[in-house]
């Protein structure tokens, strides 16, 4: 029994650990290469003929490196995550919470908007023809161009903080939900639709008893994309707000002051937050589809 578990760990964990080790090694090598010039220049300036070992050591412990070493990022990450009170301005947890709340609000709004648009597009032919081009066009405009305008316009009418950020992020994340839901709501085959017709079912009944349940696997696939995008959106939305709080603010102030170590630890926090959100959606998906006895691959 325990042998089996050990074997399982060996089979699954080993490849993952090997890849992680390779990435870390490569990272160390890159930070040597990228920081080399600065370090050697400084050591020469200080007088002396630095050896290779000295320079390499120097590249992994600079205060403002081009690329910080993994251990520098890990130390900074641990210090700002566990070393300070979570309410402190220096705490990454505090900033992550700010960004996460904007992400969740915008995700909820975006998913709702996406679903409503999809329902409209599937049921009203005029909407299908007239709305879809706009939905697609909306995504071709760079969010970085629109974000400051939304902040300014809403700021002018006295709305600041969470709402503008969420709107920017919602603008990004409704799109995959609309596309996925339109596909999902149209996924019932002609036979399944004919069956409803033979029972003389109303359009509402067809929607609730056929189209909506059939769309659920599609919905979850697009929700996973949407939640990741809405995190990106929330971070982008924080950039033009003057950067007071949130992971985006951390990134911005890091780049103002050349604090690359701070930038990288904020990036890691964002990655962890993103992964948590996506896995969270995956967990809900398993709960919902598992109960219905339907795996995500049961329909295609």
């Amino acid at each position: 029994m325990s042998d089996g578990i050990l074997q399982g760990v060996k089979d699954k964990a080993l490849p993952v650990l090997a890849v992680v080790a390779l990435i870390i090694l490569g990272w160390y090598a890159l930070s040597v290469a990228l920081n080399w010039a600065q370090v050697s220049e400084r050591l020469v300036k200080d007088g002396g003929a630095p050896g290779v070992a000295d320079i390499v050591k120097g590249t992994w412990s600079m205060e403002r490196p081009v690329l910080p070493s993994p251990d520098q990022v890990a130390v900074e990450f641990a210090k700002t995550t566990f070393g300070v009170k979570v309410t402190a301005k220096k705490s990454l947890v505090y900033h992550a919470t700010v960004t996460a709340s904007a992400t969740l609000v915008s995700f909820a709004l975006g998913a709702l908007l996406g679903i409503l648009l999809a329902i409209g597009i599937v049921h009203v032919q005029t909407l299908d023809r007239s709305l879809m081009p706009w939905v697609i066009a909306s995504q071709t405009v760079p969010i970085l161009a629109i974000a400051p305008m939304i902040i300014v316009v809403l700021g002018n009418i006295g709305i600041t903080g969470l709402v503008p950020k969420s709107i920017i992020s919602m603008y990004l994340c409704f799109f995959p939900v609309t596309i996925g839901m339109v596909k999902g709501l149209r996924s019932p085959d002609p036979m399944e639709l004919d069956l409803m017709r033979s029972y003389n079912a109303s359009q509402a009944q067809v929607f609730w008893k056929l189209r909506l349940p059939a769309s659920v696997p599609f919905l979850f696939a697009s929700l996973k994309v949407a939640v990741a995008i809405s995190l990106t959106g929330a971070i982008v939305g924080e950039l033009p707000t003057g950067a007071s709080a949130g992971l985006g603010a951390r990134l911005l102030s890091g780049s103002y002051y050349g604090q690359t170590v701070q930038i990288w630890s904020a990036l890691f926090m964002a990655a962890i937050l993103g992964a948590t959100l996506v896995y969270g959606i995956g967990g809900i998906e398993r709960l919902v589809l598992g109960r219905a006895g339907q795996s995500a691959s049961a329909r295609s």
Binding site: D189, M191, E192, D194, L195, M196, R197, S198, Y199, N200, A201, Q205, K209, L210, P213, A214, V216, A292, G293, Q294, A298, R299
Partner: protein, 264 residues
């Protein structure tokens, strides 16, 4: 035969699809009467319009000419009154519903109470031999069992008319034989009028009281054969001289349609 007895009356029916090159005559000059309690089989090669004809009767397709009445009214009115249960080539069970919930679907749409829905579902699942499988999901059942569930679903709201569109076409021959026997048993028990579409001469011989032979391009009826087999039947009935004779006649009919097609 009184006029009241006629369940389906098809007169001068035609369906033409307009295509860029030339109009396609899916059905032409179809005339057919089906009486109460008959088991009528439409047999013919692919493209002869047998499924289309049944879909017109079910108001799932519209003819371009001619008149169809079902129980004396138009197919649309008949559909609105839920006059028929339709059984498709595939079971078309909804994968997120368990078997019982699938069988309850028509009653759910008609707004029947929960208790009555469950009672009917269990009764008809029992009839098709699926007792004990109520809580299983479709993917947990074999193809034959899924098709049984779909038959239970069609029977559950007790329509007078069953429209079966190659229901066993996707099953292996052994399962198909068993399903044919089951169907004979169910038909004897429920006394429904059945229209059955098939490619299989064996199936047509075993099941039908009347066989409608159709041919393609244009889709039309070539011959209508009354079966002289006894009402009480089982798989062995197919071996009897009468059945052999009937199969021969069907084969000749299909051949006639085919050669006609070739001279064209």
């Amino acid at each position: 035969m009184s006029a009241f007895d006629v369940v389906i009356d098809v007169r001068n029916l035609g369906l033409t699809f307009e295509t860029p090159d030339a109009p396609v005559h899916a059905l032409q000059d179809i005339n057919l009467n089906i009486r109460h309690g008959e088991f009528v089989t439409f047999i013919g090669p692919s493209g002869c319009g047998k499924t289309t004809l049944m879909r017109i009767i079910a108001d799932l397709e519209q003819p371009t000419s001619g008149v169809v009445t079902v129980n004396g009214v138009s197919p649309r009115e008949a559909r609105l009154k839920r006059a028929y249960g339709y059984i498709f080539q595939a079971a078309a069970l909804y994968p997120w519903r368990n078997i019982q919930k699938n069988v309850e679907l028509p009653h759910e749409i008609m707004g029947v109470s929960k208790a009555e829905r469950a009672e009917k579902a269990l009764r008809y699942l029992d009839l098709v031999g699926l007792k004990g499988f109520e809580k299983k999901f479709p993917f947990q059942l074999s193809g034959g069992m899924q098709q049984r569930a779909s038959i239970a679903r069609a029977l559950s709201f007790d329509p007078d008319l069953l429209l079966m569109d190659e229901p066993f076409g996707a099953l292996d021959e052994i399962t198909r034989d068993r399903m044919n026997e089951e169907l004979l048993r169910i038909w004897a028990k429920t006394k429904k009028t059945v229209i059955f579409v098939t490619h299989s001469i064996d199936e047509a011989v075993l099941l039908s009281t009347r066989i409608v032979i159709m041919s393609a391009r244009p889709g039309r009826i070539i011959d209508v054969i009354d079966s002289n087999l006894p009402v009480e039947r089982n798989l062995e009935t197919r071996e009897s001289p009468a059945a052999q004779e009937l199969a021969h006649r069907i084969r000749l009919g299909l051949k006639a349609g085919h050669s006609y097609d070739e001279v064209k």
